[in-house]
């Protein structure tokens, strides 16, 4: 089938008006809002950091210096690798990974309950309870977390009153507040893809497995989880990508010693004013995240098409 025939079929099916709207909207979204900005970032990342008058001048050539900087650090430094930035980079990815696992463990039972165990009216109320907190602005939520996890916050007050601790626990320094905030921020993105899939699972399959003697964990292992795999991978992908790329929560909830990689990127763009370096860092983060997601998908035998389900 050639392209012009495909276009003709597309317009025949959707009509001229709707057809052109779909084409223009999707094209605009894809090209203007995604591909072009990312390409210009990519382009930026390969340029020297120059004062504005010299841009476009003879010094404005392509270079790998920013990537080299991320890997090796400043020239003449006493270490042969950029230990600080690479350390933050790895820590960010590991933390995002654990936030994802934590959300998965927390949300799977919930999604299963919502999708299978309960009746309709009840479910709707529960879903509402999950959604309403997201009407609150992200920054506000992060600060609220900072308050309840603070030295004189509700949690510490409670622990002190119960006599479990003698001094307030520093949840901020220990990053407990940060991980809770990140985990909480993306719960819905984990629940809903799983809930959608699990809801469509035929209850009889669960009962059939139970009838054949399967204990609950085997029912989940052999029936529910394989069936929910597209939802699980879709949820995990989103949570991982967004946690690794989060800025507000690490900024507000992160302890003094913990830096998130996005914060370094932000510093290069804003405080440092070094856009090419920030762009290079951002590109590295994006590529590595995509690579991790793709390898995880291969490892768990998930196809790209399943994610869209």
């Amino acid at each position: 089938m050639n392209i012009s025939a495909a276009f003709k079929r597309f317009f025949n099916r959707n009509g001229l008006g709707l057809g052109s709207f779909l084409l223009i909207a999707v094209g605009f979204w894809l090209i203007v809002l995604i591909i072009l900005p990312q390409l210009s970032m990519l382009d930026f990342s390969f340029r020297h950091h120059l004062p504005p008058p010299e841009m476009g001048g003879p010094k404005d050539t392509y270079t790998l210096e920013h990537y080299k900087y991320l890997a090796l650090g400043a020239q003449g430094a006493d270490q042969s690798y950029n230990v600080v930035d690479l350390g933050v980079f790895v820590r960010t990815l590991v933390a995002a990974f654990f936030v994802t696992i934590f959300d998965l463990l927390l949300c799977y039972p919930l999604a299963y309950y919502l999708g299978q165990a309960s009746g309709s009216g009840y479910t709707r109320i529960l879903v509402l309870f999950l959604i309403i907190p997201y009407w609150v602005n992200e920054i506000l939520r992060a600060f609220a977390f900072r308050i309840i996890f603070g030295d004189s916050g509700v949690i510490n007050e409670l622990l002190l009153a119960m006599g479990l601790v003698d001094n307030p626990v520093d949840f901020i320094r220990d990053n407990v507040a940060l991980y809770s905030g990140l985990g909480y921020a993306y719960i819905l993105l984990m629940i809903f893809p799983m809930y959608n899939v699990i809801e469509s699972l035929d209850r009889n399959q669960i009962e059939a497995a139970r009838d054949m003697g399967a204990p609950w964990w085997r029912i989940h292992w052999r029936i529910v989880i394989p069936y929910a795999k597209p939802g699980i991978s879709s949820g995990c992908t989103m949570v991982f990508m967004l946690s690794a790329g989060a800025l507000a929560a690490p900024q507000i909830l992160g302890g003094p010693s913990s830096l998130w990689f996005t914060q370094i990127i932000y510093q290069w763009f804003n405080q440092g004013g070094n856009w090419p370096r920030g762009a290079a860092y951002a590109i590295v983060l994006l590529s590595v995240c995509i690579l991790i997601v793709l390898s995880a998908m291969r490892l768990f035998k998930v196809r790209m098409g399943d994610i869209g389900k």
């Binding site: 009889n204 009838d211 003697g213 394989p226």
Partner: protein, 370 residues
């Protein structure tokens, strides 16, 4: 024939809130029998099956399988296997994994599982199809896989919830025979749920006919058909011409019924109605379409009915003749096609006769709605 394990329900009630789904069910199913629950949708037959399999606890009463009270024993611990109406095959597992799932649960190794699955695949004539996915099989094949999967668990009792309802007529008839054969070969107790009376009659040793949560009659198929115990059973199982009226006189096992529109007719009193019918009682008399024939003479008699032929239907082995009796009373008569020129014709007036032994009278009651 008593190799299998018996099942009995003792005074079982199942309620959902105020709604009584099953009322006072008392059933004794012999080990190794093919037992059917027959009834219209919503009569509680599936509820009974779910309580036997353990997915539902009776609100009251006992369920006993092989002499053991099943109270508090979950579906995964009962010696039953259930075949679901939609089969509920696991779509992401291969056919052989589906069949051997119960062995996987028991921790049997892969090679042994595969071997057993292949044996069962041979039995259901699907040799070599084990590596397919269920979605690659036809309806009848899926059906057989579901049976094999249930049998693989070596249950004492196999429960079947209308498993043939999704199949087309030819396949359904074929699977009926096959199910019966499998049951006789494995010798375990089958409990079968259906709303299709011919399924129940052809396969079962015994049938329980249910109406709105109540079991009206439990008997072998022929007794259910020939000696129904309630008007509901008489009208639900097979077709019947119903004559309403009052009992005029009783003589031994025969009663003369003064029908509302068709005069006085003589009928047999079945065992179940003996002693419960008195002179002057409201009664319903039933004559099967195939029990009616064209009378030799037109003389008035207490086994003759006159009627006008409205319509005829040729069904191959039978002619169905639709008639209108006095006062607009609708009747149906089935005549065996003997290849002769048809004796009846539209618009002609006929006198029909029947053998009083083939008519039965019961106390008036609720009929099955069409």
């Amino acid at each position: 024939m008593s190799r299998g394990v018996g099942v009995s329900l003792q005074d079982v009630w199942i309620k959902f809130g105020d709604f009584v789904a099953v009322r006072e069910a008392n059933v004794d199913i012999q080990g190794g029998a093919f037992f059917s629950f027959l009834g219209p949708s919503g009569c509680g037959k599936t509820t009974i099956l779910r309580s036997v399999s353990g997915f539902l606890d009776p609100s009251q009463g006992k369920i006993i399988i092989g002499g053991n009270d099943m109270a508090g024993i979950g579906p995964n611990k009962r010696p039953t296997a259930l075949i679901f109406q939609n089969l509920a095959l696991f779509p992401l597992m291969k056919v052989w994994e589906n069949i051997a799932f119960s062995l996987e649960v028991k921790g049997v190794g892969t090679a042994a599982r595969r071997k057993r699955a292949d044996e069962l695949l041979d039995m259901i004539a699907l040799t070599g199809q084990g590596d397919k996915l269920p979605s690659e099989l036809s309806g009848g094949q899926k059906q057989r896989v579901a049976i094999a999967r249930a049998l693989c668990a070596e249950p004492d009792v196999l429960l079947l919830d209308e498993p043939l309802s999704a199949l087309d007529l030819k396949l359904r008839q074929h699977m009926r025979t096959e199910l019966r054969e499998i049951q006789q070969r494995v010798g375990i107790t089958f409990i079968y749920i259906t709303h299709d009376q011919s399924e129940a009659l052809t396969m079962s040793d015994h049938v329980a006919v249910m109406k709105a949560g109540v079991i009206d009659q439990i008997s072998d198929g022929q007794t259910i058909y020939d000696d129904p115990s309630t008007p509901f059973v008489a009208s639900f199982v097979g077709e019947n011409n119903v004559f309403r009226g009052k009992v005029k006189s009783i003589d031994g096992d025969k009663a003369l019924i003064s029908t509302n529109r068709s005069g006085d007719l003589l009928s047999r009193i079945p065992l179940s109605a003996k002693g419960t019918l008195g002179v002057g009682d409201d009664a319903m008399m039933f004559i099967r379409p195939e029990a009616l024939s064209i009378a030799k003479d037109d003389a008035a008699a207490n086994n003759h009915v006159t009627a006008l032929v409205l319509n005829e239907e040729f069904e191959g082995q039978t002619f169905n003749v639709f008639l209108e009796g006095d006062g607009g009373k609708e009747m149906k008569m089935s005549l065996v096609n003997q290849g002769k020129a048809r004796e009846s014709a539209k618009g002609s007036s006929l006198t029909l006769e029947y053998a009083p032994d083939q008519a039965i009278v019961l106390p008036a009651g609720e009929l099955a709605s069409e």
